[in-house]
Symmetry: C2
Subunit: 207 residues, 2 copies
């Protein structure tokens, strides 16, 4: 089945639904109503129904959605049904935390290589990955690595992005606090942790 | 001025606009059109205009928005115009990266205390903060700390959240890969880094 264009906001929400569904599925839940899923995730049930309708999924009244089927469909839409070989650039505190993070596998993401410029780090093993010299980033294409995570200091982020693009990477998750510029064919998602923390005070009650 | 309820999706976007505006303001830009801001942030200009209209801000045709004024207004709406004293629970790799992160201050967030259960870490200084024993989390209320970041392993996240809530915390940024349950008066924002990475393949071109 081919899907039409799904709004970016819906694409942003799909992984959240997926995570909730995986959690419920592990707990043995075989079907779920949009209301129960919405309650579980603290989101709006009509939003969920609307988002699912973009790819032609409609629940059965009184039964809801089949958990397993929905998981498969969301994975397919997000193209998480194939494993993406992913490289990490920068093995500082954040990079080390990412290497140790157990949650990526569930989403079809496999960090298979890590790079750093620090000679003291090169050759060391972190979470079963041997750190390589950043001068080896050019090998990504040959190794069929098409996703990369940038966790280098801000002042070398753009330079790293340039090398990654040249090495054939098609998607970048940027954790550096800087904007990076890439050709249109490459998709960048920038994560600024402070962005999320900055939403908190708005919701906090006074007093 | 009092504002009506702003949709959550708009609240999520405001910090992104703020970051862009701060960046442009530092570069000396005194006014900006919604189109230029949209181009800079790779978002939709009509979305920007709509989001700003929620709090009564309308650009001047041919001139746009005054950068400084807009920064002040967004800060006020997000309640970032007062500094929030913030505690960090868990000083592993991720916690250490958060302590070293320079970006929080801009958003009125000040990490003033860090806690861990590991006796080897307690008393050590990381980024000018002396790590305290987690048994001291009860002191937060007295120290007027009302925000907290959870960066502990998943299996102790709920227990940590319970202690934080009891200590008077009103907002929690949860980095653990687990759901945490808190009373309604406390706002939780959960960050699952894999959620963001999971959106990337959707946008990547085939081939």
């Amino acid at each position: 089945m081919r899907y039409g264009r799904i709004p970016d906001e819906a694409v942003r929400r799909l992984p959240i639904y997926l995570r909730g569904l995986l959690f419920l599925s592990e707990g043995g839940q075989q079907s779920i109503s949009s209301k129960d899923l919405a309650d579980f995730l603290s989101v709006n049930p009509s939003q969920i129904r609307k988002d699912f309708s973009y790819f032609g999924v409609f629940g059965t009244p009184g039964v809801g959605y089949k958990t397993e089927t929905l998981i498969k469909q969301i994975r397919k839409i997000l193209k998480l049904d194939v494993v993406h070989r992913t490289a990490l650039a920068g093995v500082g505190n954040l990079g080390s935390a990412l290497l140790a993070y157990p949650g990526f596998g569930v989403y079809g993401l496999d960090i298979v290589a890590a790079f750093d410029t620090d000679p003291k780090k090169i050759g060391r093993k972190v979470s079963n990955i041997t750190i390589e010299s950043s001068s080896k980033l050019g090998t990504l294409r040959r190794r069929k690595i098409d996703l990369a995570i940038i966790a280098v200091p801000g002042d070398s982020a753009q330079k790293t992005a340039d090398v990654l693009v040249k090495a054939g990477v098609k998607g970048i998750l940027n954790f550096s606090p800087c904007y990076i510029t890439v050709p249109r064919r490459v998709k960048v998602i920038s994560i600024d942790i402070a962005m999320d923390l900055a939403r908190l005070p708005y919701y906090m009650r006074a007093g």
